[in-house]
């Protein structure tokens, strides 16, 4: 037993409980002024907890917490924990502004959000299927609540769809885990890998693989399992949409990598073909469905499905280089998508709609927000010299290197198509006439954070070397 390995998670959990208790004892004064400062305080406590969590991740040694592999702290997990804590901070900064006038229940919101972040951290550390499943549920259940948090019509619709689909897919995943356990006699991913390498495979293996693939496919939102995505993204409070598009997807890809590369790598030929088909379908349908969308959050939902398609290329490659490209891409994708949703959250506070029409003439109302949107969208589309370009470059280059030239070509074609719909947003922001020309103002904190995101996108795009090498170092030597 080595509890020190759990320090980051314990800190996040304690922060969550602290936020709830502080909210209970401070929100009693119903005076408008005191309540407002209390709400801000809750956000700051949450941010402080996440920053402390980052330091704790830095100081935590590698190892196994409970002797078995139910909690593994390796470089792979630590890379993602930094990412989740960073995403958490940005989401809370955005929420503090977004929630201010929309709800009075702030304590519960930060409480659930912090627990969900804790769930993602446990997820990437799970080296065993049961603890993986439990932490995945910790992420899912919290997400259902947060999607419907504002109790708007669309929010509840999105939440219900997400819940029904999620419950079904997690049942399927659990069934798959059960079959794999029945075949191999162990739930430890490493043990499964060793068992399957011996060549003694049971007949139900394809069934178990297919079920597990479906369960993960739901979480990463790849094509046949994507029906919840547009509704949940549209209905959720915008910072939560940002969280679903970044942290939830990143965590799901992390466990996808761990299970398939550590556990099922010995039987690659059984699932590579299925993955290639899913990958091509996801790129095609995700990007093509984004074109006719008129709601900006739905458009980005479909585009995030398309991005899951590019990321699957890295899993098809399945080498250390391919996986490091996925990890690098997840970093730059999360940064850009968070920037975009922060801008949307600020603007939606003023124009009260998420339709692209509402963004007409935004250039006159806030040049800064438009610049931010431009840079983040250009990074998502993969234009040089931004980070998104390097992400796609590594992914496609390693695909060519590994002999999957056709995947790189298809990926390139669809990322060119994606430029079209990203620039539709920019067109309405820059080249259309504004109906209302009032200036959109927002807090200096948000401005600083947005500047940092833009600088980050440029920095990673111009000097990607240190980031990609840290990703390569974080890929464990599973082979």
């Amino acid at each position: 037993m080595n509890y020190t390995l759990l320090t980051p998670e314990i800190i996040v959990c304690c922060t969550a409980l602290l936020v709830l208790v502080v909210d209970l004892f401070m929100a009693q004064g119903e005076g408008a002024k005191s309540t407002k400062s209390t709400k801000k305080l809750l956000g700051w406590i949450a941010i402080a907890g996440l920053v402390a969590g980052m330091f704790a991740v830095y100081n935590t040694p590698e190892g196994l917490a409970f002797g078995n592999r139910s909690f593994v702290n390796d470089t792979f997990a630590m890379y993602f924990k930094y990412l989740f804590l960073g995403i958490g901070i940005l989401v809370i900064v955005s929420s503090m502004d977004y929630l201010a006038e929309r709800t009075t229940h702030h304590g519960e919101y930060y409480f659930v959000l912090l627990l969900v972040i804790m769930g993602t951290m446990f997820m990437v550390s799970a080296g065993e299927l049961i603890s993986l499943y439990v932490s995945l549920e910790m992420l899912s259940v919290g997400s259902y609540v947060l999607v419907a948090y504002l109790r708007t019509r669309q929010g509840i619709e999105g939440g219900i769809k997400y819940l029904l689909f999620g419950a079904f897919c997690s049942a399927v995943l659990l069934y798959g885990i059960g079959i794999i356990y029945g075949l191999t006699g162990t739930t430890e991913i490493k043990g499964i890998g060793e068992f399957l390498n011996q060549g003694d495979k049971g007949c139900a293996l394809p069934l178990g693989l297919a079920f597990i693939l479906a369960g993960f496919g739901f979480k990463i939102a790849c094509i046949p399992f994507h029906f919840w995505v547009p509704e949940a993204y549209e209905g959720a409070p915008t910072p939560i949409t940002a969280f679903l598009a970044s942290a939830s997807k990143v965590a799901s890809f992390a466990v996808f990598i761990r299970v398939f590369m550590e556990g099922f790598i010995g039987i690659r030929q059984e699932w590579t073909m299925a993955l290639i088909i899913l990958c091509i379908l996801t790129m095609a349908i995700g990007n093509l469905s984004a074109i006719p969308q008129t709601n900006i959050k739905r458009l980005l939902a479909y585009s995030s499905i398309g991005h899951a398609g590019y990321l699957l290329i890295g899993l098809v490659i399945g080498t250390v280089n391919g996986l490091s490209a996925v990890m690098f891409y997840l970093l730059v994708y999360a940064l850009a998508i968070l920037g975009i949703f922060m801008v949307i959250a600020i603007i939606s506070k003023r124009i009260d709609t998420d339709e692209i029409e509402g963004y007409e003439g935004m250039y006159k109302r806030s040049p800064f927000l438009c610049l931010c949107m431009l840079i983040c969208l250009a990074s998502l589309a993969g234009l040089p010299p931004l980070a998104g370009f390097m992400g796609k470059f590594y992914l496609f280059a390693y695909a060519v290197h590994a002999g999957y030239i056709y995947l790189a070509v298809i990926g390139f074609i669809f990322s060119t198509i994606s430029v079209y719909y990203y620039f539709r947003i920019l067109k309405s922001m820059y080249f259309m006439e504004a109906k209302d020309e009032s200036i959109i103002s927002f807090s200096p904190l948000l401005k600083v954070v947005l500047i940092l995101i833009m600088l980050g996108l440029f920095l990673i795009g111009i000097l990607p070397q240190s980031f990609i090498s840290s990703a390569i170092e974080s890929v464990p030597k599973w082979y």
Partner: protein
């Protein structure tokens, strides 16, 4: 061809699964005695004669009380095995259980501060 042969097992598995469900229905339909009566169509209400429709509104507070009850019910279910092996596990187990109970107590605290425990 090998792939096809592998998936044959999947088909077989699905077939057996369906057989298991529908086979049960069909067998029971074949061998059970059939004596329909109007009383058998009554709503089941713990053996009592049902009064009124089941679509009645009831106070949401019943639900909240039940929820809080379940939390502590489960807590007690965990306390029993803990108490049995308490001597062997020693201090660590004590601290762990206290942390567990503290987290549940936050739930009670929440219910109390939100006024759920007040019956109106």
């Amino acid at each position: 061809m090998k792939l096809l042969a592998d998936y044959m097992w999947v088909v077989l598995f699905m077939g057996l699964g369906m057989l298991f469900v529908f086979g049960g229905y069909i067998t029971s339909w074949l061998i059970r005695p059939s004596k329909p009566s109007s009383k058998k169509l009554f709503t089941y209400e713990c053996g009592e004669v049902p009064v009124g429709s089941s679509w009645v509104q009831f106070n949401i507070r019943y639900y909240l009380f039940a929820l809080i009850f379940v939390i502590f019910d489960v807590e007690v279910a965990f306390l029993f095995p803990w108490a049995v092996v308490f001597k062997e596990l020693g201090l660590v187990a004590f601290v762990e259980m206290m942390i567990f109970m503290a987290i549940l107590l936050v739930g009670l605290l929440y219910a109390w501060r939100k006024g759920i425990l007040k019956w109106m």
